[in-house]
Symmetry: C2
């Protein structure tokens, strides 16, 4: 039986303020919850009898068998999917040396990405392309937003997100660390070889692109060419799409 | 003044059944409406005084000045944006020779894509990459779904979508027309040159991928490699992301 208080607690996690206070976030569906169990401490799990019977011995602080109707009441999804869980957040390790990280390995930086679906999709593709760290400006949407969590499809268990002022981060990198940013007037990404070592790829806000403050610190301005070149076309690509094309090209060149 | 009947009409266009009956669809926001005006017949347009004053001489069957509150009541968006319009659909030309189209130019085929945001995003990126025709299986989500329309960001004015049984279409192409499909066990997309002429790129459903019926007709099975190869990672990419990476690679090779 799902109590009123529990229902209220679950639904409260829609709001960032409450998630931060509770250090907890919500995930739904067999695939996603399955991926997160073992990576994040599970505080609470509610599932249908069918899911429960197929998953004995779940390690969670509290486990509850619920009816489809109860699950539907708690769920934020249009089509509730058998299981819903509240996980504890991973905490940022204090004193992490972000500059060394970026100099040693290819990382992403997101400058004001607003849509939770875009953010989650970017985490998922970063995972695909072996990018383990994403730096987010403080005004980037919260990765623990339920829609963002769902869109990661579980990649949130493998990719670490760090919310930091990007200009401050870039200032610590030193001038020889490549900082890429996509701009409509940048250089064709295919015209020069990309580095196969560390560096930062900055992607901007859905409407406004990269902020002027961060843009001024980008030392390699790149562009995804449209086709045929010069044809009247959409002005831009969705930010997750652009991130994917850039990451795929970096990785294609690494594998040569 | 927005009448109750008008409000009911606008909101009714959320449903495919009503859109088909009315041959009409909804679009919102200055950028999107601006792009669609002139491409689709505008049946009805409601906008704030601010937008109206900046856009005199709008060619629409009916134009209405509304308050922010009235707009908010009609809008399907979380944040209503100054203008909302109902457009008439483009009708499919009867007797179009789809096989010749595919043999002459690179086209996309979507086999059961369900999420309207994914579909709209694919239309937007197809536009970016100069792909003018997308064939959709009949169970693919309707491109005139308001969320799909919004995600196209106006590209729906330039890219044509054709809802046809894909197996029937592919059967008419002849064996020497390349039909690409992405599969987890396909060949690395970077390992062999891609053709620079016509052909079809088939992309599948979000959860199930390409149907077995259509998959059996694909003559070039390809795969986007993850990085580093063989690393445990997300099982798959979002369908719009995968479509973007494949299209970008086709176009990169065309431009060499």
């Amino acid at each position: 039986m799902l109590s009123k208080n529990k229902l209220k607690y679950i639904r409260s996690l829609e709001l960032k303020k409450n998630r931060r206070e509770e250090h907890a976030f919500l995930a739904e569906g067999p695939k996603l919850v399955g991926e997160l169990l073992g990576h994040f401490p599970c505080r609470y799990l509610a599932a249908t009898a069918e899911w429960m019977d197929a998953h004995p011995g779940i390690a969670a602080d509290e486990v509850m068998r619920v009816t489809d109707e109860e699950l539907a009441r708690a769920s934020l999804l249009k089509t509730p999917q058998q299981v819903l869980a509240v996980f504890g957040m991973c905490e940022e390790e204090p004193g992490a040396d972000f500059a060394s990280l970026v100099r040693g390995t290819l990382c992403l930086a997101l400058d004001g990405v607003q849509d939770p679906g875009n953010l989650g999709t970017i985490v998922r593709l970063a995972d695909w392309f072996g990018i383990e760290h994403i730096f987010c400006s403080p005004d980037t949407v919260d990765i623990y937003n339920p829609k963002a969590v769902q869109a990661t499809m579980g990649a949130i268990a493998r990719v670490r997100l760090h919310y930091v002022p990007l200009a401050m981060l870039i200032a610590t990198l030193g001038e020889d660390t490549p900082v890429y940013g996509t701009f409509l007037d940048g250089e064709n990404i295919y015209s020069r070889p990309l580095p196969t070592g560390g560096g930062l790829i900055v992607m901007g806000n859905e409407g406004k692109g990269i902020s002027s403050e961060v843009g001024a610190l980008v030392n390699r301005r790149i562009r995804i060419p449209n086709y045929p070149v010069g044809r009247a076309t959409s002005e831009s690509l969705n930010v997750a799409i652009a991130t994917a094309i850039v990451c795929a090209e970096f990785r294609r060149q690494c594998d040569r």
